[in-house]
């Protein structure tokens, strides 16, 4: 039944096929921001890594197939998690571990072992191994030694294959860009971070929050998870980079499941992310969010199914943010313009108008907060050791730039600090803080009035108000239709004749990305932030998307697939009036762990 939400949700992803999934509702930790810290002293770990790096490079750089670049990243993770379900504690633990990742590149910056030839896919599975949490330079060096040898061997073999196949394959224009960008080396030693956390109060809180959900007979299952994550990164490479920095993030997730009478699964989810312990949500804030989730659940299990329609729609800020992340953000990731198996939607559109001219989009990973909310996509250096940057992707509707890793494009020779990955994967260009800015803003009330105007203009009886989107998945691969599908969780019909809004369920947005973007007619005036974890080929990474509410003149929706599993036969035990064995008088043993 309930494992941590992480396993639940992540396990869903592979089923979605290739392509990319934004998942606004992944799991795990939250946002961070090391203080713009004064320089600290380098850890002895950096010294051990540098020593082994120098020793390895001296030999591997002089082989027949020379390594031209080696990089080591050691990530120290401290993670506490407290999870509750249906009124009881599910688990409470703290773990610490270290993960070593080794990058070895053979050949040259222009043509190396990662070069894409035809549709050859990069090998899956990332380079890395566990390393001791004790600071023992000798044992660490041994792990580095073996991993470096493995990675060098793989890189040398890959280069031989590429050289062989290059002779028979025609290079594409996109393939003329170098394989690896030259970047400045950086030296930075920030303080190491860790937290000291008493889990007991959180254990009480997750019990209480999930106990509250049990009061509703519409909620079949609830999981609330608090997590704290401190990560320290140590990085060295043969270009001279030496980095040491850390981040702490906290997250609280609320998740409930229910079922409509026809068997459709209904899930509601909310997350809080914060960096400073004093920004933690209090009981009142959680109660408000919980009450909303519960109310939505109780409404949705009874709500009618919406029929497929095309018409005007308004997306509230958080929903719009996910929409942009899916429809625009993933397609602006640089490496997708290079890979011929990708749709390359925007590859040749730089300098062209792709959005209405009142919209601009930046991806600003240097930004810690927006409107008082912590942004999950903030970091100091990306996973390739490049400093975070503010990148203007779209300026007044015109496409200007891409999110770039160290895999250059023709005309875009450098990284802009978006090379990212989950531990264990190889970095590719990924979103960070995607922020939509508008200069055609009206208040949200006015935006709603405009929606009703549009409904009337188009001769429809109703339009849609989309209040929450769980995230969807985007097929960016060429083999699939260039369509996107995001799953709105809370959708209202808004009627032209002034009837009260009606909650509906079973709505999926469908359509083609470029068309959808051009149909935006106006925006609200308050940016809203969506923090989540986004899954794609380099794993799950923390991201933010922010947008004001948007109004679109045309949105196509279809019916969502439903489950055939009918609601439970018996009523919930706590709501079973016929039950002879009523919940016993003995109080639950709170905190009574044996």
């Amino acid at each position: 039944m309930k494992k941590s939400l992480a396993v639940r949700l992540l396990s869903v992803f592979p089923a979605l096929g290739s392509g990319l999934f934004l998942i606004a509702m992944c799991t795990m930790p939250a946002l961070a921001g090391p203080p713009d810290s004064p320089a600290a002293k380098p850890s002895p770990l950096i010294g051990a890594m540098q020593t082994e790096l120098d020793r390895s490079f001296r030999t591997l750089n002089t082989q027949d197939i020379p390594a031209y670049f080696i990089g080591y990243t050691l990530t120290d993770t401290q993670r506490a998690e407290v999870s509750g379900s249906n009124g009881a504690l599910l688990s409470s633990s703290e773990v610490r571990n270290r993960w070593l990742q080794v990058a070895v590149r053979t050949g040259t910056y222009d043509m190396d072992d990662t070069h894409k030839v035809g549709d050859r896919q990069l090998p899956t599975g990332g380079p890395g191994t566990v390393a001791p949490v004790d600071d023992d330079p000798e044992v660490l060096r041994r792990a580095i030694w073996l991993e470096t040898d493995d990675q060098y061997r793989a890189a040398a073999e890959a280069l031989i294959k590429i050289r062989t196949s290059r002779e028979v394959k025609v290079d594409t224009a996109e393939g003329r860009a170098p394989d690896f960008s030259k970047e400045q080396a950086h030296k930075w030693y920030g303080p190491q971070v860790s937290f000291l956390l008493d889990r007991k109060p959180w254990e009480e809180r997750v019990r209480a929050y999930t106990k509250g959900f049990r009061e509703s007979s519409s909620i079949l299952n609830s999981i609330v998870t608090f997590s704290a994550l401190a990560q320290n990164t140590y990085q060295v490479n043969t270009e001279g980079t030496q980095l040491q920095f850390g981040q702490i993030r906290y997250r609280l997730e609320l998740f409930i499941q229910g079922k409509a009478a026809d068997g459709m699964d209904i899930e509601r989810y909310y997350n809080f992310d914060w960096v400073d312990p004093k920004d933690a949500p209090d009981d009142k804030a959680v109660a408000t969010a919980s009450a909303t989730l519960r109310m939505e659940m109780e409404g949705l299990v009874k709500a009618p199914i919406n029929e497929p329609t095309v018409g005007p729609a308004m997306l509230t800020g958080r929903a719009a943010a996910v929409f942009f992340h899916e429809v625009f953000g993933h397609r602006a990731e640089g490496h997708r313009q290079k890979d011929i198996t990708e749709g390359q939607t925007f590859a040749k559109k730089v300098g062209e108008q792709i959005l209405p001219d009142f919209l601009s989009i930046v991806d600003d990973t240097t930004r810690k907060k927006l409107g008082g909310e912590d942004l999950l996509g903030y970091y100091q250096f990306d996973d390739e050791g490049v400093p975070a940057q503010n990148v203007t992707l779209v300026d007044r509707g015109v496409l200007k730039n891409f999110e770039m890793s160290r895999s250059p494009l023709v005309g875009f020779p450098h990284s802009n600090g978006h090379g990212r990955r989950q531990l264990g994967a190889t970095p590719v260009s990924r979103q960070g803080n995607l922020i939509v800015e508008s200069n055609k803003m009206v208040t949200n009330v006015q935006l709603r009035a405009k929606l009703i105007e549009l409904i009337k203009q188009q001769g429809k009886s109703y339009g849609l108000l989309i209040d929450d989107i769980a995230g969807g998945f985007t097929f960016t691969g060429r083999g699939q239709p260039q369509a996107f599908q995001v799953q709105p969780l809370v959708v209202y019909k808004v009627f032209a004749d002034g009837k009260p809004d009606e909650l509906v369920r079973g709505v999926d947005i469908v359509g083609t990305p470029l068309a959808a973007l051009t149909k935006i007619v106006a925006t609200g005036d308050t940016p809203e932030v969506f923090n989540g974890y986004c899954g794609a080929e380099s794993g799950s990474v923390p991201v933010s998307a922010a947008s004001p509410a948007i109004l679109t003149s045309e949105l196509e929706v279809q019916k969502k697939e439903t489950s055939t599993d009918r609601p439970p036969i018996l009523p919930p035990p706590a709501h079973d009036k016929r039950s002879a064995s009523a919940p016993s008088a003995a109080p639950a043993v709170a905190g009574g762990q044996q």
Binding site: N86, G87, V95, P132, D134, E138, W145, N221, I569, L570
Partner: protein, 611 residues
């Protein structure tokens, strides 16, 4: 969601139960909220759970419901070369609800279909670790509902499939069993007394002295568990178990680039019984010394002739050979025959089913399986329990007497030779119970001393006019000796197919020369064609019984196959087997094969032996 469940288990690297804790008189009513929740939801489901399927108009009800709840506290500490890698302490509770529709004769179980109902939450999963009545009832409610629907769906699929078969089995699906009520007092884990992290550092540090080792890992794995079992037939059980393990794996590359592995393991009924640091260091040193000897040894040549298994190797050998053969339950019906083929390829078919009363072993040999045995001549045994995973009282089973097959091990799944469980339905991690060994004792009325057996072996070797013959001192357990999942998968790919034909992985093998030259260790040997039939013609049995404590692998598909003996604390079912040295008149041994790897381009960085 079952897959998820498995994922969860492996993620937590959760192992399972062991040696039964002290059985006292039934505990007084301690008002355990977990037990009450299980009882109350069972009563409600039994009374009211029913579903009318449109066509028939008659309501379907489960004829059997089973609740299993496993409360696990696990400490896992990993160190390498004296440095701590991870240290975790987790407590989790898992439930597994099973419902059956149909009848004992034919029901929804024993059918492997390629698809089917998967509930949105599932009939298995983790539940709250508080002893909280209300949340557990909520979880059981959903799980029971899902299990019941799964059963209805599975039953109709099974019937459709059976109707398409020309001949159907007349063996029942489920046997009746006496109900058992056994409520042990709740036990409290005892973590006191030892500092496990420091022990892991200190013991693993001894391997720093072996500069030619490439990698090593030492894992301490300590488990306390309480398990509940309730059935709609009236069985109510609450038992406590514990076990503890130290497992060390190490590897090196020979000069020709062939990777060599070795291992050390020690298991105990309770954490406090684990060997101390000095003892573990000694064990690791022996393993590392043997590995170094293997490293500089010659590859083995193909060989046919007498082979002597010293007791230390004979015991794990029989754990591999006997595991599939003692299983008397019929296999499940598979929608796809591929499953059956797979099982038979990895040695999952019993050669002994249908042969009760036939001679299967030398006429002097008796094999017992005794779940009640606590020790063998003072050495603790690990496989004991009083009630099995299906709530059936354990029985001591005489498998073979004077070489004649008497009885097979049975769970509640009937087989061709028996329709009654003898209390051997065992499982780890709440997985499906299968007939599995507990404490197996192999004994003979005619034995000779180790020295005499060696002499007999050498005489046989001379008679064959061979320059040397092979002695096996130790078997490999790749589940512990291999440090990477990739290596294990690679091994299964190359070896798995041979397991069904009796391929056996040996690790420490010596050439013993007939002309008095010193013994010579060889590497890479693999015995082929050694299966249960080979045991009928043993030409000598020693008097030097060896107690081998090990973990039977419970990974789906491996249990009760030749691979079942390759277990580790994370996936294993604690078991013991007692076997003396065994002399085989003729076995075939294949010499070293396999692809050497390239040696690392750089020498290892320095490591000081200290610590």
């Amino acid at each position: 969601m079952k897959t998820l469940f498995r994922t969860v288990f492996s993620a937590f690297a959760v192992a399972i139960l062991l040696s039964p804790a002290v059985l006292r008189a039934q505990a007084t009513q301690d008002n355990d909220p977990s037990l009450r929740a299980l009882r109350d939801e069972m009563a409600r489901s039994k009374e009211r759970l029913e579903l009318t399927i449109d066509k028939s108009g008659k309501p379907v009800r489960p004829y059997y419901i089973e609740y299993r709840l496993l409360d696990l506290e696990v400490r896992e500490i990993v160190a390498q070369f004296g440095a701590l890698v991870t240290s975790t302490k987790t407590r989790n509770r898992f439930m597994n609800v099973e419902a059956r529709v149909g009848s004992y004769k034919q029901d929804s179980s024993n059918f492997i279909s390629d698809e089917g109902f998967r509930g949105f939450i599932g009939s298995t999963g983790s539940v709250g670790i508080d002893h909280d009545y209300d949340s557990l009832r909520q979880d059981l409610w959903i799980a029971t509902d899902q299990a019941f629907k799964e059963a209805i769906d599975g039953y109709s699929r099974k019937q459709a499939y059976l109707n398409s078969l020309a001949r159907q089995t007349d063996i029942d699906d489920f046997s009746k069993a006496q109900t058992v009520q056994l409520i042990e007092p709740l036990a409290t884990p005892d973590w006191s007394g030892r500092t496990w992290e420091q022990e892991a550092r200190d013991s693993s540090a001894t391997l720093r002295a072996f500069s030619l080792l490439q990698e090593s890992r030492v894992t301490y794995y300590l488990v306390y568990a309480t398990q509940y079992l309730l059935t709609s037939e009236g069985t109510e059980i609450r038992t406590n178990r514990s076990f503890a393990a130290v497992e060390g794996g190490l590897n090196t590359l020979a000069a020709d680039g062939v990777q060599l592995n070795h291992y050390y393991s020690a298991y105990a009924p309770r954490p406090a019984d684990l060997p101390n640091v000095e003892t573990v260091r000694k064990g690791l040193n022996v393993a590392a010394t043997e590995l170094m000897a293997l490293r500089s040894s010659q590859p083995a040549q193909d060989y046919t002739g007498p082979v002597l298994f010293e007791a230390r190797a004979a015991a794990p050998l029989l754990a591999e050979v006997l595991a599939p053969n003692l299983n008397g339950a019929r296999p499940p019906i598979a929608f796809r025959p591929v499953m059956e083929q797979f099982l038979s390829n990895i040695g999952g078919k019993s050669d002994w089913v249908g042969r009760l009363g036939a001679r299967v072993l030398p006429a002097t040999v008796t094999v017992m399986d005794d779940p009640y045995a606590k020790d063998y001549k003072g050495t603790p045994l690990l496989g004991g329990y009083s009630v099995d995973e299906e709530g059936v009282r354990a029985e001591k089973v005489t498998v073979a007497e004077n070489g004649v097959l008497k009885q097979l091990l049975m769970s509640r799944r009937p087989g061709p030779d028996s329709n009654q469980s003898n209390g051997h339905g065992r499982a780890a991690f709440l997985s499906d119970a299968k007939p599995s060994m507990s404490n197996v004792i192999f004994s003979s009325t005619e034995t000779v001393s180790a020295a005499d057996l060696k002499k007999k072996f050498l005489d046989a070797c001379k008679a064959e006019k061979l320059p040397y013959c092979l002695v096996v001192r130790e078997m490999d357990n790749p589940a512990v000796s291999l440090l990477h999942q990739d290596d294990f998968s690679e091994l299964l790919a190359s070896f798995g197919g041979g397991a069904g034909n009796g391929d056996r992985l040996v690790s420490v093998v010596y050439k013993v020369y007939t002309d008095g030259r010193p013994d010579e260790i060889v590497r890479g040997a693999r015995i082929i064609g050694l299966n249960a039939r080979s045991l009928r013609n043993l030409s000598g049995i020693g008097s030097d019984d060896f107690v081998y404590n090990y973990m039977q692998n419970q990974t789906a598909g491996f249990a009760n196959t030749a691979l079942g003996a390759f277990g580790s604390a994370q996936n294993g079912l604690p078991s013991s087997i007692v076997v003396p040295s065994l002399l085989f008149e003729e076995l075939e041994v294949r010499g070293a094969r396999g692809e050497p790897k390239r040696l690392p381009l750089l020498p290892a960085p320095p490591m000081t032996a200290g610590k």
